[in-house]
Assembly symmetry: C2
Homo-oligomer: 133 residues x 2
Amino acid sequence: MLKLSKKVEYGLIAIRHIASLNNQISTVKEISDKYNIPNEVLAKVMQKLTRGKLIMSHQGAMGGYTLARSANDISVMDVIGVVEGTQVGIAQCFSEAPENCSIYLNCTIKNPLGKIQHNLEHVFASMKVSEIV
Amino acid sequence: MLKLSKKVEYGLIAIRHIASLNNQISTVKEISDKYNIPNEVLAKVMQKLTRGKLIMSHQGAMGGYTLARSANDISVMDVIGVVEGTQVGIAQCFSEAPENCSIYLNCTIKNPLGKIQHNLEHVFASMKVSEIV
DNA sequence: ATGAAATAGGACTTCAATAGTCGTATTTGA
DNA sequence: TCAAATACGACTATTGAAGTCCTATTTCAT
């Protein structure tokens, strides 16, 4: 509960890695070996980060990945959003259609949870990759 | 990901309910009916809240639950801790033995995640049930 | 040209956590 | 002594997370 997924962790580690090497091109193999991350899992994460325009891919031999933006313009929130592909919501009504929640109609904690949600977003958005390097 | 469990939500709703009735004794049936919460699930949550000394049980006919502390002395963090029975940790290394994590040794994001973790705890600890009533 | 190194991405399996159900025992007020 | 309430263990179903496997495509270097 309230745990980041491994995918998000892997994404953060990978982006930090590239940033720490001054945006030098890095491969999935290099990163997955160095940090003991399953190769195929990291590969998929990198593909998502590419589609989300946080990193850029360079295909073919001698290819790999570089950052698509400066490290101080990539937040933990960005990585979460791109890797998970959905909005973070601490309750169902913040991440999908509110009516889906079985208790939505009589729920008395929507507003306070909304406040908490807002604060959490701020925490994740204000931590930039540049602080992690 | 990063979602509160239904149990925690139910616990918050129940505690808020009791607080909003000026700590009048309330039953599981009354609460589960009013908020459309499965009876047995709520019952178990109430038992945990009792063991965690956030509420007090009154057994037997005419029994039910009352708060064990004033509403401004119960935080969302308290409810999470008692209902989940474990520490909240946004990464494995914060909620269980760090060595269990497959990437612990080479992990480069422990410190920044620790900072985020600390901020999250603050967010949850500073929201009191008295603000929800 | 061709082969090796790299990204792209779909399909599948495994495992653990969440959510809910069922059954029974115990307590206590009227 | 019965009904209304809490106490609690055992079970099932569903979902999501994590990882594996396989194949296609791109591109550099020889």
